[in-house]
C-alpha cells in the first residue's frame, strides 16, 4: 500500500487545557527533529487536536522507526488522504467509497477478516452524517469483498474515515512510545553506570519530557577504555530519544583508593556511593538540573536496601532523586532495556567502578550515623579529591 500521510495520536497532552499549545508545539518540534534524519519530504500540520504528516519520497520503515522515538506520540496511523478539489469541495460519496475499496485491497491481501467502519465527520457541511457514511461504506465493502464480515464489537479491522479539511482513511495504529514531548519539563542528571538499570531509568524519566545529562564514574586502570566506550554508547541510545546527552566523565580512582585506605572495607561500597551522589548533586546543580536520576530498585543489591538508600539519599542536598525503577522487578527492567535496544550493550562484560573493590560481605543495613562517623576519617583530603574530580570533569557531547 502506498501511504502518503500519517495521523499522529497523542493522549495526555490533549488534556492540558490552556497550556496545550506548548505541548503540541514541543511535540511537532521533536517530530521535525527526527524526520530531519529520515529520507523524504515531510510536511507537518497541526489542526484541531490532530497532527498530520504528509510524506513523499520516503522510506516507510525508517520513518516509523524514527517517529517511535518521539515521546508524546501514542499512535502512528499510516493514512491515505483525499484532497478537496479546486473549488475546495470535498469528494462526493461515490469517490470516497472507491477510495475505501482501493485502500482495503491495498492494505489487506487476505480479507477473511471482520471489520467495522468508524466515521468522524468534523466538517458538518458534508452532505451525509457519520452514521449514514458508516452504514453505506459497510454495505459497499460487503458487496465488494463477500469474504469480509461485520463485527461492531471486536472487529479485526477498524476502518477510520475522517471527514475534515480533507478526508483521511486509516486502519492500522502503530504504537508510539507515549509519554510527554521532550522539552516540556526540565533537565535531570542521570547516574549512568553501564549496567542494565541506569539506561532504563534515564529512558523512563526522559519519557516524561525531561532532558537528560549523565555522569559516569571512571576508575582507570581498574576500569577500561572499553567500559567507558560502553557508557558513551548507552548514552547514545538515550540520545536517540532525546536528541542529545551531555555525559560527564568523572575520574573516581583517587577517591576510591582513599576510601579504601581509610574506611572499613565492608562499608566501602556505601561510602563510595555517597560520594558519587554528592558529586552528581554538585555537577547537576551547576548545570541547572532539577533532579538526579538513578536506576536503583529496592533490595536489588546490598547498596539498594532501604537502609542503604536512606544512607545515600541523605547526602543529596540540592534536589530530589528520581528512582523510576524503585518498585520494578529485574525482569521488567530487562524487558524495557530490550525494547529500547540497550540490553546488548549493557551486558558487555566490562567491569564498572562499583564492583572493583566490592567486599565479600558488604553491609546491607548501614546506619547513617555510623557511616558519617567513619567518614570523618576521610576529612584530611577528601574535599580536595572531590574538588579535583569536579575540576577534571570531562564532558562528552553525544548527539543523535
Amino acid at each position: 500500500m502506498q501511504y502518503h500521510a500519517f495521523v499522529i495520536k497523542y493522549a495526555e497532552i490533549g488534556i492540558k487545557g490552556k497550556n496545550r499549545y506548548i505541548f503540541e508545539e514541543a511535540l511537532v518540534r521533536q517530530m521535525r527533529r527526527v524526520l530531519e534524519r529520515c529520507e523524504g519530504k515531510f510536511v507537518i500540520t497541526r489542526v484541531a487536536g490532530r497532527i498530520y504528516i504528509e510524506a513523499s519520497d520516503f522510506d516507510f520503515d525508517e520513518t516509523i522507526a524514527n517517529l517511535q522515538t518521539v515521546f508524546g506520540i501514542t499512535g502512528i496511523c499510516p493514512a491515505v488522504t483525499i484532497e478537496r478539489d479546486e473549488n475546495a469541495k470535498l469528494p462526493d460519496y461515490q469517490h470516497l467509497s472507491e477510495a475505501v475499496i482501493k485502500f482495503i485491497e491495498g492494505v489487506y491481501p487476505d480479507r477473511h477478516k471482520t471489520f467495522k467502519v468508524k466515521c468522524r465527520r468534523v466538517d458538518k457541511t458534508y452532505p451525509m452524517d457519520s452514521m449514514e457514511i458508516d452504514r453505506s461504506l459497510g454495505g459497499d465493502i460487503l458487496e465488494h469483498f463477500p469474504e469480509m464480515k461485520v463485527d461492531v464489537h471486536d472487529p479485526e479491522i477498524w476502518l477510520n474515515v475522517e471527514i475534515r479539511e480533507k478526508i483521511n482513511i486509516f486502519s492500522e495504529i502503530i504504537p508510539g512510545p507515549g509519554g510527554m514531548p521532550l522539552g516540556t519539563s526540565g533537565k535531570a542528571m542521570l547516574l549512568l553506570s553501564g549496567g542494565i538499570d541506569s539506561p532504563v531509568a534515564g529512558y523512563m524519566i526522559a519519557k516524561r519530557g525531561v532532558e537528560i545529562e549523565a555522569v559516569y564514574f571512571n576508575a582507570p586502570p581498574y576500569t577500561s577504555e572499553r567500559a567507558r566506550q560502553k557508557v558513551v554508547d548507552l548514552a547514545g541510545i538515550i540520545a536517540k530519544y532525546t536528541g542529545k546527552v551531555r555525559l560527564h566523565v568523572i575520574n573516581f580512582t583517587e577517591i576510591q583508593l582513599y576510601i579504601y585506605d581509610h574506611c572499613p572495607h565492608d562499608e566501602l561500597t556505601i561510602i563510595m556511593r555517597r560520594y558519587m551522589m554528592k558529586i552528581a548533586d554538585r555537577i547537576a546543580a551547576s548545570q541547572n538540573c532539577l533532579g538526579l536520576i538513578t536506576g536503583e530498585s529496592i533490595g536489588q543489591v546490598a547498596s539498594q536496601t532501604m537502609q542503604s538508600l536512606l544512607c545515600t539519599n541523605e547526602v543529596v542536598e540540592d534536589m530530589p532523586v528520581y528512582r523510576p525503577l524503585i518498585a520494578f522487578d529485574k525482569q521488567d527492567i530487562v524487558d524495557i532495556s530490550l525494547k529500547i535496544g540497550a540490553y546488548d550493550t549493557s551486558i558487555l562484560p566490562y567491569e564498572d567502578c562499583c564492583t572493583i573493590f566490592v567486599a565479600k560481605h558488604p553491609v546491607t543495613k548501614p546506619r547513617a550515623d555510623i557511616i558519617r562517623k567513619h567518614e570523618l576519617d576521610l576529612a584530611d583530603k577528601i574535599d580536595e579529591l572531590v574538588q579535583t574530580a569536579l575540576d577534571t570533569d570531562e564532558v562528552v557531547e553525544i548527539r543523535k
Partner: protein
Amino acid sequence: METYLDNSATTMCYPDVAELVSKIMTQDYGNPSSMHHKGLVAENHVKDAAGKIAATLKADPSEIMFTSGGTESDNLALIGVARANMRAGKHLITTQIEHPAILETMKHLESEGFEVTYLPVDENGLVRLEDLEHALRSDTILVSMMFVNNEIGAVEPVAEAGTLIKRVNPSTLFHVDAVQGYGKFRICPKQMGIDLLSVSGHKIHGPKGIGFLYIRSGVKITPIVYGGGQQKGMRSGTENVPGIAGLACAAEEIYENFDAQHVQMQELKHYFIRTLSEKLDNIRFNGKTDETSAPHIISVSISGIRAEVLLHALEDKEIYVSAGSACASNRPHVSETLKAIHVQNELLDSTIRFSMSVFTTKEQIDYTIETLCAIVPMLRRYSRQ
C-alpha cells in the same frame, strides 16, 4: 616509550609489506582470473608469492593454498580432511591446549559424528608422546597439534609426533597449527611428517585477513568453500592478491635474518625473566623458559593482582600486553591452556602475557621491568578482600 608487547595477538606490518600492498591495490589491481594483461600481472603476483612461501618450507608452490588467515586454514584442514577421509575412519586426535579455531572446529565435527580425543599436557604444556601413541587407533584419520602454544609459548614435540604417527599408522594425517611457530622456527613439513600446516599473515608482520594452508601433495581433502573454482577449486573466491603478495613479502623478510633475530629475542626473554624474578617476589613464569621454549612469549602469574587491572595500568604507560589469550579477553573466560597446566585457581586471573617481536628492544624491556616494579606493589596494596 611506546612498548608493544602483544605480538602474539598481532604484529606491526613491515613498512615494505604495507608499501607493496598499497602498490598492488592501486596499480596491479587486476583479477587473476581475467584474461587480459592486468589479470596476468595479478596472477603472477600470486604465483611469485606461492613460490616464496614454499621456499621457506622446502615445499612445492602447488602445496600452498591461500586463505583468509589462521582460523580459516584450521577449519579447512580439519573439516576438509575429516569429510574427505570419513570412510577410512571417524577418529580425530588433538590436544587440550589448542586455539579455539581448532577446539571449536573439533566440537563441530563431533556434532557431525566424529569422535575426538583431547590429549592432556604436562605442567609445561607439552604433549606426552606416549599419550599420543596410546590414543592412535587404526581408524584415526587426523592428528592436529599446535607448533607453539599462544598463551605460554610451549613448543610441542611436533617432529617427534610426526615420526611417531607415521610409524604407528602411516595413513593418519598430521596437521600442525603453526600460527605462532612460523617465522619463529624453521619448519620443514616433509622432514617433520607434517601433512598440513596453518599459517597467518598478521602474526609475522604481514597484513590481516590473509594466511595459508600448506597441503602436502597427495593429501585427500575436500573444499569447505565453493564458487568460481579458484586455487584449483580448493578455495574458491577471487584471490586476495595484495594480501597474498604482502604475506609472501613478510615471510621472506622474517626468514631473511632468522638466526640473528631468534637469538636476540631469546636473549631478551631470558634477560626479562631473570631481572623480573630478582625484583618482584611471588611471581611465577608459566611453562618452560629455556631455549626449547618459544623465543617471543613470556607468561607470568603475579599473585595478588588482577591481570586486567595491571594491563590497563601498563597501558597508561604505553605498554601493551595481554591478559590470558588476547582473542578471548573481552569475555569472561578461563584459559584452557592455563587450566591444562594446572595453574592455581587464584592465579588464573593474575596471568599476563608479554609477547615480543623482531622490533622489541632492550630499552623497551628495561622500561617494562621498571614500570612493573613501580606498579605491581601499588596494585597489590588495593585488592578485593
